[in-house]
């Protein structure tokens, strides 16, 4: 499927902190239900711990908490989306997966400037679909934060 002069993008959408976000399907390694993670000492509250994904140890990050929204108390109903960016893998703890859809890249609107610079830090753009607003999440930001936390 290819619209004239524009790339098609397949996205996976999910709810986190009461808002809807999406990421490129190609960055998603796996989706699974919540299983208890091994907590890390002195970790920020949004880092829920580490889990084993086929022999690789990776962190579970509560996306809502990371974005400054209320962090969630995970239950078996919560979902972990394993995503990969900049050569690293992490699990995104979210409330639920809401949609998988394909749109033309031309339909991604630039995120408007806002006071807390959320647009610059975390949003690649926003998408209007069926009357909802979905924020295309900037995956690299997950890993940037670790660097800055470590520094």
């Amino acid at each position: 499927m290819r619209a004239m002069g524009s790339e098609m993008l397949e996205l996976i959408a999910f709810h986190s902190g009461g808002q809807e976000f999406c990421v490129d399907v190609k960055a998603v390694r796996e989706i699974r239900g919540w299983t208890p993670a091994t907590p890390l000492p002195d970790a920020p509250p949004h880092v829920k711990g580490v889990i084993n994904l086929r022999g690789v140890v990776l962190p579970i990050i509560d996306l809502g908490g990371r974005l400054g929204m209320p962090s969630i108390d995970p239950t078996a109903r919560h979902v972990i989306i394993m995503v990969e960016a900049v050569g690293r893998v992490a699990g995104l703890l979210v409330e639920a997966v809401s949609d998988i859809f394909t749109i033309a890249t031309t339909r991604i609107q630039p995120a408007p400037e806002v006071a807390d610079e959320f647009n610059r830090s975390f949003a690649r753009g926003i998408i209007a679909i069926e009357g909802r607003m979905i924020c295309l999440f900037k995956l690299e930001s997950l890993f940037d934060t670790h660097e800055s936390e470590a520094a």
Partner: protein, 777 residues
């Protein structure tokens, strides 16, 4: 395979040869007199030169050549490998290594003065001249040179190329066109007469008259006359004798030298005359060539038909002849001519000429000598990636096996079932596979130690100190990943030892010591770890000075009383550096704290023992591998943690009466006569806000480098097991107090405790301050 790949191979090979070279030179320096050691050293330089020549690396060739010439003098006993000579050679080996590296990286050699100086020294050695100290008196040079048979004229050796005619010819596959001998500006053709009379040796060495004639015919039109009058009567024929000779007239545009070149390989085993013009002597025979086929005249000159050689004449003629002895390749021509004269049974007697018997006897001797040489171990080269992949897979296998075992335990009624027995076997096998795989990556520390000898030489030169490096246990093996990370801290410690540990020759003499300082670098295995020691026989740590410095920089209070050991270990403290350290070689902006950190990041420990006036010994112990460790699995605040077994001295079940409060928050545990601080791991890691009741838990008595003992409190011990080390940093970041992670039998992640960091934290340093420690590794 293309040139670049071969070049890569060449540089790899250089590395190996350079290591061989250094090992050999050091062995000679230690008094090894084995001729094979000298040979190996010579071969190393020789190989480098050979390969370098093929790639047109002229700088490398020129230096290797001078070096090789000097080594050849040692090899042929013309030069005594004294300490002074070896000193020059070791430095030359360093320069050779630099040149190799420069050629590889395409960079210019920085220190041309150094290599030029060494070339001069090497040449002086091979010419029997004294080493060029300042100026060498010409008369002395001449006198020394005259006693040396090796090179009559010293100026020979000074020439960049060689008395042996060695000239680098850059090699390129592009040249590889099937070019005909280029006949530029066609000179006039001239006639030569060639008289060629082989001796039997010519055939014995695998040369072949017919092939030489064929080669000759490529130079121009030939008339070939075969003279058979030398053939004796049948009963006198030696089947391997040479009875024919040839007269060849050739009309060619080439010169006499080109004709002689054809016979280059045969010149010692034949009579060869080349004369310009046609030779009158055999006019009649040449004239008779027209009638040569007369069957009644077997002894008549025979025209040699060169076209016979073109297709597969040997097979054809052999098939036609019944008188050929298999396995003895007789001159082709006799095959064609022998029918009427040689009965088969005569050739069949394998009566070797005396010369051949002598060779056989000689070879037998040689074979006997060979048998005594131990066969080289069979090796294959494997890409490191493949080994790493295998190691990862085995890691998964270990985890999987543990998970399987756990689920069997959970689901089974118990008792010795077939499943349990099978599982035990699986466990055993898994362990063996893992050990074998780890052994693949195990490497001797030798290459790293070898690098150190160069460091020592350089620092000794810079500081004007006289240092002898003694290495022991270089064949001690440890995982390659550990080796790779060992070089840097070791280099720094060696620098430090030469620079600060050892005194100048004058000071040493004044202190009644030998002017030559000894640095001892040893490696050995001890309880599942590798222990590396660097010991110098220098002045030892100046404790007053260290103490003073520590007070000045606020590390300790002026009235604190520290044990000698504690003072010594202050040098590992971050921010501690004595004035000297900033000024010179080992300075370079790094202190011993960095060394300590990089050792710790490898899961290692380091300590120092110093005796005033007698020297200091740094001891570091490292895990043998960074892939697995033996751990004690414990529970802390409902979490499972792994404590490296090597850190644990003993485990204790604290009794109430042994716990003593010490101030408002601290508690000590009485262990026999001593009191040891209790550290609640759960609290240090912020897993719980307050200390747990020690009596309800278990204490692990641990020792950290320079920090004395601590009793780490955990809630319970689950057991001991080998765990696969998984990086936390790969997908997350360094976590203070945690060395790494592992995966347990239930598939969950457990954290491996960084004991040193926890102990440091218990001494009041924040956990986070140790953070850069593992992050640096």
């Amino acid at each position: 395979m293309d040139m670049n790949e071969i070049k890569d191979i060449f540089f790899q090979e250089c590395e190996e040869q350079l290591a061989e070279l250094e090992t050999g030179l050091l062995a000679l320096n230690d008094g090894d007199t084995d001729a094979e050691t000298v040979n190996a050293v010579f071969r190393a330089v020789h190989s480098i030169k050979g390969g370098a020549g093929a790639f047109g690396l002229d700088d490398l060739v020129a230096f290797a050549h001078v070096f090789e010439t000097t080594l050849d003098c040692v090899r042929s006993n013309k030069l005594e490998p004294s300490h002074d000579v070896l000193k020059v050679m070791l430095k030359s080996a360093d320069v050779l290594a630099d040149l190799c590296a420069a050629s590889r990286d395409g960079s210019k050699v920085v220190d041309t003065a150094r290599s030029a100086g060494l070339v001069e020294e090497l040449e002086a050695l091979s010419n029997g001249r004294p080493l060029p100290q300042a100026t060498v008196e010409p008369s002395a040079t001449a006198q020394a040179a005259s006693t040396m048979s090796a090179s009559a004229d010293p100026s020979d050796a000074l020439a960049p190329t060689d008395e042996s005619g060695f000239q680098p010819v850059p090699f390129s596959f592009d040249d590889f066109e099937d070019e005909a001998p280029a006949a530029t500006a066609t000179p006039a053709a001239s006639v030569f007469t060639v008289r060629f009379k082989p001796r039997s040796d010519l055939y014995a060495k695998g040369n072949e008259a017919a092939l030489l004639l064929r080669d000759l015919s490529r130079l121009g039109a030939t008339q070939v006359l075969c003279k058979t009058e030398g053939l004796p009567s049948i009963d006198l024929i030696d089947p391997e004798g040479a009875y024919f000779h040839w007269i060849i007239r050739i009309k060619t545009q080439q010169d006499e030298a080109a004709i002689r070149t054809v016979f280059e390989f045969a010149e010692w085993d034949c009579q060869l005359d080349v004369t310009a013009g046609s030779d009158d002597a055999d006019q009649a025979d040449f004239a008779a060539l027209g009638a040569a086929g007369d069957p009644d005249l077997p002894m008549a000159p025979v025209l040699f038909d060169l076209s016979l050689l073109d297709e597969d004449p040997v097979v054809a003629e052999v098939a036609a002849s019944s008188s050929v002895v298999p396995a003895i390749k007789t001159p082709l021509l006799t095959v064609a001519l022998s029918q009427p004269v040689a009965p088969a049974d005569m050739f069949a007697t394998a009566d070797l000429p005396r010369a051949a018997k002598a060779i056989a006897a000689e070879v037998e001797k040689q074979n006997a000598a060979v048998a005594a040489v131990p066969a080289a171990p069979q090796t294959i080269r494997v890409d490191l990636d493949r080994v790493d992949r295998l190691i990862n897979l085995v890691g998964e296998l270990v985890i999987n096996q543990a998970m399987l075992a756990q689920s069997v335990v959970e689901n089974e009624t118990g008792g010795p079932s077939a499943i349990n027995l099978g599982l035990e076997e699986l466990q055993q096998l898994t362990r063996e596979i893992q050990d074998s795989v780890m052994a693949i990556r195990a490497q001797p520390v030798k290459p790293v130690f070898q690098r150190m000898s160069r460091i020592v030489r350089e620092i000794a030169d810079m500081t004007g100190k006289n240092v002898r490096l003694v290495t022991e246990g270089e064949n001690t093996e440890v995982d390659k990943t550990v080796i790779d990370k060992l070089a840097e801290p070791l280099t720094h410690m060696i620098r430090n030892a030469v620079d600060h540990g050892l005194e100048t020759p004058e000071k040493r003499l004044a202190a009644g010591k030998s002017p030559e300082g000894v640095l001892r670098l040893t490696a050995r295995h001890r309880s599942g770890r590798i222990v590396i020691e660097i010991a110098d026989d220098g002045a030892g740590i100046n404790r007053d000075r260290v103490r003073q410095k520590a007070i000045e920089s606020g590390l300790i209070s002026p009235d604190s009383s520290l044990s000698d050991e504690e003072i010594d270990n202050l040098i590992f403290h971050p921010g501690f550096s004595t004035a000297e350290k900033l000024s010179d070689i080992s300075g370079r902006g790094v202190g011993m704290d960095v060394v300590k950190r990089s050792i710790q990041s490898l899961g290692g420990r380091i300590s120092i023992i110093s005796k005033p006036g007698q020297g200091s010994t740094f001891t570091m112990s490292l895990p043998l591998t960074l892939a697995v460790l033996d751990g004690m699995v414990v529970t802390v605040a409902n979490q499972t943690l792994v404590v490296p077994l090597t850190a644990i001295i003993e485990t204790l079940q604290p009794a109430r009466q042994h716990i003593h409060c010490f101030g408002p928050t601290q508690r000590l545990i009485a262990i026999r006569e001593t009191f040891c601080p209790l550290v609640d791991v759960g609290q240090i890691l912020n897993f719980r806000p307050t200390q747990a009741d020690p009596v309800a838990g278990v204490a692990l008595l641990v020792e950290s480098e320079g920090g004395g003992q601590r009793a780490l409190m955990v809630d319970a011990i689950q057991g001991q097991r080998q765990v696969v080390i998984k990086s936390l940093e790969a997908n997350y970041t360094y976590v203070p107090g945690i060395a790494a992670a592992t995966i347990l039998g239930d598939g969950r992640v457990a954290l491996i405790l960084d004991v040193d960091a926890v102990v440091a934290a218990s001494r009041g340093q924040a956990l986070g301050s140790e953070m850069s420690l593992a992050a640096a590794g």
